[in-house]
Subunit: 185 residues, 2 copies
Amino acid sequence: MPAPLLSRDAVVDRLLGAFRRYGYAAASLGELSKATGLGRSSLYHYFPGGKEEMARAVFDRVDQWAQEAVFAPIRGTGTPERRLSQVIAALDTYYAGGAEACLLGNLVVGDARTLFQDKLSAAFHQLMDGLAQLAREKGIPERDAQQRAEDAVVRIQGALIVSRGISDPAPFRRVLKRLPQNLLG
Amino acid sequence: MPAPLLSRDAVVDRLLGAFRRYGYAAASLGELSKATGLGRSSLYHYFPGGKEEMARAVFDRVDQWAQEAVFAPIRGTGTPERRLSQVIAALDTYYAGGAEACLLGNLVVGDARTLFQDKLSAAFHQLMDGLAQLAREKGIPERDAQQRAEDAVVRIQGALIVSRGISDPAPFRRVLKRLPQNLLG
DNA sequence: GTCTATAATAGGATAGAC
DNA sequence: GTCTATCCTATTATAGAC
């Protein structure tokens, strides 16, 4: 039995790269095989459920990342401004400064949306709730805090689309830069 | 020779519906055939270049719609507020109150992005320039007008993603409602 | 755990009848 | 202008060797 070339997490990370580049439907097993360096059959060894199971594993991995890089800072210590700046740094890295697409944003298209709608809805709501918490701590009233948080997520998603549409990361950079003022100011 | 069942424009409209639902890669000829009610071969009669030519025709049709429903009002008469409200009404209809996805937003994913990058970039820039023009007419300085216009497009795109992600059109409705204040106020 | 081989299906595209 | 029939390729998935 040959030793595994990649840990399961490493495989999932590479799958994530493919799904966020191509979306769900267009991420063929050939692409996923190329992205991971594994043959198609090896992918079925890790994920007997095929592509859907791969996507669910990727989803869980992103959720795990978000817990560590986004929600842990949000629940951490320090001023809201300081904790938000940690979140922004994490987002900037995750999205490679606006060059990489959002997995969630790609999964709202086509049949993937119905396939993953529960997880999608939960992920968006969790992110908005987390950001709203920071705004509340600044003394912003509940209603306003929620809407600022929604606006922040809307802007991040939109900036990724526009930045890719015009092949220029500037809109994404501007959105991140203004996020502290828009959410907490 | 049987008479055409649908005008070419009608065919393209139905193709638009399929491309905005599924994106480019996942809009298979089977789906496009079902959406138009035409057999695969009939689609090749209209579009000898296959799926890419279909998508380009859809792109041109959306551009034509934008000229009439967005850019004509922008260049029209009346106060900037009044002209913007015409644009917002057109966007609300086009996106079905947030229920329908954006063709442009779907085409920035995967290989479609490189395939259509020139048209994508031009379309986004044209829309931002048009909205910036309205802001300038309100006396907003050039730099600020441009960034407000970019922010407006960012918010619209992002709201479509979030609304679909949480299966709730409220974020899209809120963005349209606040657009006058955010762009011109 | 990885591979080659293979099956079955769906995809894009073309030819030709009517 | 539309259809059926067809071709070729790509795709998903499985079987079995090592």
